[in-house]
């Protein structure tokens, strides 16, 4: 009984420690986003600005996802396991916020957070930002797990992941009929659902490319690159296939209707779902086919 109680106390203490780390994250967030200092440090009113609430709490979800990759090893001692969590938790916070900063600088190069979220309450911007937060968190978690407590490998893989993510967000313009900048200015929700589906799909594909056994970092990076290129070849097949199997009707014959229909929220759902379904099926083709041994042992 004493042992069970002791373990419960340890769990409660560790939960408290994780909360402390999230508290630290709140301040770390201010370092990377100085313009939001006032919003982060004061009490948040979601009813006043839902876009801001979504933007901020998406990051809380993200940091929770990343923390789930850090393990406590109580057998090495309670204090040491707390120290391990503090070190790796801090590293993950820095990498996560840096990744978000870089990716959002690429995607929202024409937009400013203060203008879109705080002044214009742009929900489309907030949803896209939410998707970024989740996807980057998921990818950072994957990279941290692959690094297996090696800071050098973590930095290499993190940089590698950022390069691939950077290219993938630019790929959106190739696979959609929606104009990103024009629709984002208009706070168009079809764009955010289409882009959200795309970024989640891209995240699933990239995470699956990184999720593989590795013994040698060079061979591992090559395998990741090959899988990424293979995904780029397979994904359009599924996208075209799904669009062909489930054709949609756009417009009623009047001039200009097609363009308006594309901007409807329904079209956004449609594109987003096609992207996610295509991405999941792509990971199946890329990762779930066992060809057996490649080397000819006979």
């Amino acid at each position: 009984m004493a042992e069970i109680f002791d373990r419960l106390v340890i769990r409660i203490l560790l939960a408290g420690f994780v909360c402390l780390m999230i508290y630290l994250y709140r301040y770390a967030h201010v370092i990377f986003y100085p313009s939001v200092k006032r919003q982060v440090l004061k009490k948040i009113n979601p009813a006043e600005n839902p876009a801001d609430a979504l933007h901020l709490f998406a990051r809380v979800v993200g940091i929770a996802i990343i923390f789930s990759s850090v393990a406590f090893n109580e057998t090495s001692g309670f204090v040491l396991s707390l120290f391990h969590f503090a070190v790796w938790g801090s590293i993950s916070i820095v990498l996560y916020l840096l990744s978000l900063y870089i990716v959002e600088s690429i995607v929202f190069y024409n937009f400013d957070y203060t203008d879109e979220i705080l002044k214009r309450k742009n929900m489309s911007y907030a949803v896209i930002s939410f998707c970024h937060a989740i996807v980057i968190a998921y990818l950072t978690k994957t990279v941290m797990m692959e690094a297996d407590n090696s800071i050098v490998i973590l930095l290499v893989l993190w940089l590698y992941m950022l390069v691939i993510v950077g290219f993938s967000v630019k790929y959106f313009t190739f696979v959609t009929k929606l104009s990103f900048n024009r629709l984002l200015i208009q706070k168009n929700l079809s764009l955010c659902f289409a882009y959200g589906g795309f970024s989640l799909g891209a995240g699933i594909i990239i995470a699956s490319c990184f999720d593989q056994e590795h013994y040698d970092i060079t061979v591992y990076c090559i395998q990741v690159l090959l899988k990424t290129i293979l995904s780029l070849i397979i994904f359009p097949i599924f996208k075209k296939g799904i669009v062909y199997i489930f054709p949609i009707k756009l417009g009623d014959g009047h001039e200009g209707t097609v363009d308006l229909d594309r901007q409807s929220i329904g079209y956004g759902f449609y594109e987003g779902c096609v992207f996610i379904a295509g991405a999941i099926l792509t990971t199946m083709i890329v990762n779930r086919i066992q060809f057996g041994t490649i080397y000819p042992f006979f």
């Binding site: 690159l225 090959l226 490649i294």
Partner: protein, 219 residues
């Protein structure tokens, strides 16, 4: 059109990278035909015996062959090479046969029973009359392991076998022995290269049995 071109470039890049970095491409040499042996095998004296063949791929096949290479005095090794379709198909009946021989830089490409290069060469052995009265080729003691390397078992070449070999070589015909003891259907090859002839390899299974087996294993 632009997207199609981009897709094509992507596919070619993937194929090129995958080929350059694939583990199956590293360390396995390619053999177009029998003339290519000289590039792979640099020794002055060498005898190559085809031990096994293997095919991979569903629609586009890749052919591999496994050889036993006997070189110089008693250096024996097994190598795997990727071959062309034509060469693999041509040599399907030649399992257990020597496909390539080189002695003092003189090359021979005709498929003949293994060890034919040394039969009749007084540097390697002599013709001896056995207790039963037949004359057989016996290697010198220094080469006593050669019959084992060649996969002869207890069989030893006789003079009529040697004459048959010479006449086949003179007309450029593959030689499988006096009673076709060598090759895919040969008794001696079957006994001494059991890996190729193992039962499960040639086992034919009906679709019904295959489905029954599948349901047993999975449900």
């Amino acid at each position: 059109m632009y997207k199609f071109f981009l897709y094509l470039v992507l596919t070619i890049s993937y194929l090129g990278l995958a080929k350059a970095l694939s583990p199956s491409e590293i360390g396995v040499q390619y053999l177009q035909n029998e003339k290519g042996f000289a590039k792979i095998l640099k020794d002055k004296s060498v005898s190559v015996i085809l031990m096994d063949t293997h095919t991979t791929g569903f629609l586009i096949k890749t052919y591999y062959q496994k050889y036993r290479v006997i070189s110089n005095y008693d250096n024996i090794e097994e190598i795997i090479v990727r071959t062309s379709r034509e060469f693999a198909k041509k040599n399907m009946p030649n399992i257990g046969l020597s496909l390539y021989r080189k002695l003092d830089n003189k090359e021979e490409f005709l498929p003949v029973p293994p060890g034919s290069l040394y039969i009749g060469n007084p540097e390697y052995g002599e013709w001896r009359t056995t207790k039963s009265g037949t004359v057989k080729w016996i290697f010198w003691k220094a080469y006593k392991d050669f019959p084992k390397y060649f996969g002869w078992g207890k069989w030893r070449p006789t003079e009529p076998f040697f004459q048959g070999l010479r006449s086949s070589q003179s007309i450029g015909q593959p030689y499988y022995g006096l009673e076709n003891e060598f090759g895919r259907n040969g008794r001696i090859t079957r006994e001494n290269f059991p890996h190729f002839f193992r039962s499960e390899r040639s086992k034919q299974i009906s679709m019904k049995d295959l489905l029954i087996e599948y349901f047993k294993e999975n449900f």
